[in-house]
């Protein structure tokens, strides 16, 4: 298998570094654009709401720089767990499905969105026993709804149709 199809630990390490750098950048951007103009980034320990996060962000930046040096210097040991892109297709599909479900939850409501989500994930996982999957999806969805709505008095999202079962 060519290296193009292998997702090494090194690539993931750089993604994590990027994530940390974005976090640090967001702190500095917010301090400069929001806290400084409102006068919250000056004064002593009581008044200065920006000093502590800025200090922690600076520390994080220092640690990340150290990690970058380590990653560059120890370049021969990227090893670790490697995954093929092919292996990532299924988790990616499930995450997209789950994200779609969260997006639809507020529109369709829990009862209309949950069972299709469960069904879709089972299909993504490779199951093809359609009737069994449909029964399991409906059963799990209704079981959870009963437990949370009738036992814990949680009002689940009803969506635009305001669908809630009066248990």
């Amino acid at each position: 298998m060519t290296s193009w199809f292998v997702l090494g630990r090194r690539f993931s390490e750089w993604c994590a570094i990027a994530l940390m750098l974005v976090l640090v950048a967001l702190v500095y951007q917010q301090v400069r654009d929001v806290l400084e103009p409102s006068g919250m980034a000056e004064g002593g320990p009581y008044d200065n709401a920006a000093a502590y996060p800025r200090g922690v962000a600076m520390l994080l930046l220092g640690l990340v720089c150290l990690q970058i040096v380590l990653q560059i210097v120890v370049r021969g040991r990227s090893g670790g767990d490697t995954l093929t892109w092919h292996q990532l297709v299924r988790p990616a599909a499930v995450i997209v499905t789950f994200g779609l479900y969260l997006g639809l939850l507020g529109i369709l409501g829990f009862h209309l969105a949950s069972a299709p989500m469960l069904f879709a994930i089972m299909v993504t996982c490779g199951s093809r026993q359609w009737w069994k999957m449909a029964v399991i999806s409906l059963g799990i969805s209704l079981g959870f709804a009963w437990f949370f709505e009738s036992q814990l008095d949680v009002v689940l999202p009803g969506g635009i149709f305001n669908l809630n079962i009066p248990w």
Binding site: L7, R9, S12, E13, C15, A16, I17, L19, M20, L23, Q30, L35, M40, G44, P45, Y46, D47, A49, A50, Y52, P53, V56, A57, L60, L63, L66, Q67, L70, V73, V74, G76, R77, L83, Q87, L88, P91, V94, I95, F98, Y101, L102, L105, G106, S114, M117, L118, I121, M122, C125, G126, S127, I136, S137, I140, F144, L152, V154, V155, L156, P157
Partner: protein, 501 residues
């Protein structure tokens, strides 16, 4: 203190919740890919609908049951349900191969229960003393203590100490989002009123651990497989097999409780350490690794005693020992209970209640574990194709249930993606959660210290406890630097030898 708590524990609902928590814990422990932490996370939204002692009884029972449940799949399937049961596999599976699966499971459950009771005694004996000692702490001591909690968990993050430290620091930063307690200014909310109280701890924990774990399970090829298992019915008499090895039991439980009390050093370290020590002290006729009963006793008693040890700093200081106790602290905070010395002074009934539910959970573990093991064997037959979507639905509904917020669901989803990236990059997730939990404690006490000292930092070395903790922190950081440098040098040598080749 125990008498104060007795009234809260002797209710029917508390006992029922402890029993239910144990069953849930044993199930999530037995199912490969879940575990006690996941069980606590998924049931947290349900637990916080109860008063503090009942909620803690339920969650602690999951913790206790989950720490033991992994042994069942380790013995029957040769797959530890949780990393905690990895050492149990060495002797448990060979015992099962010799036709003694029921005995192996019985020994694991009995040793877990007895080890847990030992850990509970450590908890009851030491946490009040530690809390009394900590009652004199001021802001400098608390600030240093929070840093110690964070650096020590980073220091035991295996070969990725620096990554542990980075994750912990990122957690501290995430905890700053929301309303500043001193000035009431909104920080890092991006104009979203949903972020006024910061990120929901439930959303963070569920996203980081559950979503990333489910995605990890999805990379496997065994999603449709149903494990083939024979039924195992252990008997109550197996407790005698454990008691016959009482020196091993006491020694391993002591190791477990002591290791558990150290922030960051969890059940995995304690069970392997106890197993190694038991092997060293074993008689020549006991063949460890080939089905020795002593091996199971050592590993299981140690990992359950760890839970008791981990609760000592959690309750007495408000400093979590691992990710599971960090979530327990999160639950207490949601319920309006603040762990630490003041909890022991002002709410001795709650502290006593927590001690008692912990003991009750361990005693009940033996009875429930032995009785319902055949049920867990059926649960182990559950296919991942059903398990994964069920857990994902539970993540969504559980996170939503805490504050009926769709926004929290998106926070959970975002942290799920963050967890995936960090996990793939080899970053431990527990320090991040501990950073989020300790963040407010650290910031408040750092700012209070600076107010007390009029901006000078010398106050940290003028006070003996604070200076000692500072010294420990420096030592831990030097450890991180030393091991990072060693890795760097080893990496250079490896590169050079590869070039030579």
């Amino acid at each position: 203190m125990l008498l104060d708590g007795l009234g809260l524990v002797t209710s029917f609902s508390t006992v029922t919740l402890v029993g239910a928590g144990l069953i849930v814990g044993l199930i999530v422990g037995a199912l490969p890919g879940l575990g006690p932490l996941m069980g606590i996370i998924l049931l947290l939204p349900y637990a916080i609908t109860f008063p503090p002692v009942q909620a803690m009884g339920f969650l602690i029972a999951i913790y206790v049951g989950g720490s033991c449940g992994g042994a069942i799949s380790a013995i029957l399937l040769r797959i530890p349900g949780t990393p905690l049961a990895a050492a149990t596999l060495f002797d448990g599976y060979p015992m099962a191969q010799k036709g003694r699966a029921a005995d192996a499971i019985g020994i694991a459950i009995a040793a877990s229960a007895l080890g847990g009771v030992f850990g509970g005694l450590i908890l009851i004996l030491f946490s009040p003393s530690l809390a009394a000692f900590a009652a004199g702490f001021g802001p400098p001591e608390y600030a240093m203590l929070a840093i110690t909690g964070l650096t020590s968990i980073a220091a035991v993050s295996g070969h990725s100490m620096l990554k542990g430290l980075i994750a912990g620091t990122a957690g501290l930063l995430l905890a700053t989002a929301g309303t500043d307690e001193f000035t009431a200014a909104e920080r890092f909310t991006f104009g979203l009123f949903e972020l006024s109280n910061g990120f929901s701890i439930v959303a963070i924990v569920v996203g980081l651990f559950a979503i990333s774990e489910m995605s990890h399970l999805l990379t496997g090829d065994d999603l449709l497989d149903r494990p083939k298992l024979s039924t195992a019915r252990p008997g109550f008499g197996t407790v005698l097999l454990v008691l016959r090895r009482w020196p091993n039991l006491i020694r391993s439980s002591t190791i477990g409780a002591c290791v558990g009390a150290l922030p960051g050093a969890g059940g995995v370290i304690s069970s392997f350490t106890a197993y190694a020590v038991a092997k060293t002290f074993s008689k020549s006729d006991e063949r460890y690794g080939e089905g020795a009963e002593g091996g199971i006793v050592a590993a299981e008693s140690a990992n359950n005693a760890t839970a008791g040890g981990a609760l000592v700093p959690t309750l007495a200081l408000g400093i979590p020992g691992d990710a599971a106790t960090a979530v327990l602290i999160g639950a207490l905070l949601i319920l309006g209970v603040f762990p630490g010395p003041t909890l022991f002074e002002q709410h001795s009934d709650i502290v006593g209640g927590v001690f008692l539910v912990y003991m009750l959970a361990n005693i009940a573990l033996f009875v429930i574990g032995i009785l319902v093991t055949p049920l867990f064997v059926h649960v182990l037959r559950l296919r991942k194709v059903v398990l994964i979507p069920t857990v994902l639905l539970m993540c969504a509904i559980g996170t939503y249930a805490v504050s009926s917020s769709i926004f929290d669901l998106w926070v959970m989803f975002a942290f799920g993606l963050v967890g995936l990236v960090l996990r793939a990059g080899g970053y431990p997730l527990a320090p991040l959660v501990i950073g989020v939990i300790l963040g407010p404690l650290l910031e408040n006490n750092v700012r209070r210290t600076l107010l007390l000292s009029h901006d000078g930092l010398s106050i940290f070395i003028e006070r003996p406890v604070s200076a000692t903790l500072l010294f420990i922190n420096i030592a831990l950081l030097l450890c991180v630097v030393f091991f990072t440098m060693r890795r760097l040098i080893a990496g250079r040598h490896s590169d050079l030898s590869q070039e030579d080749t």
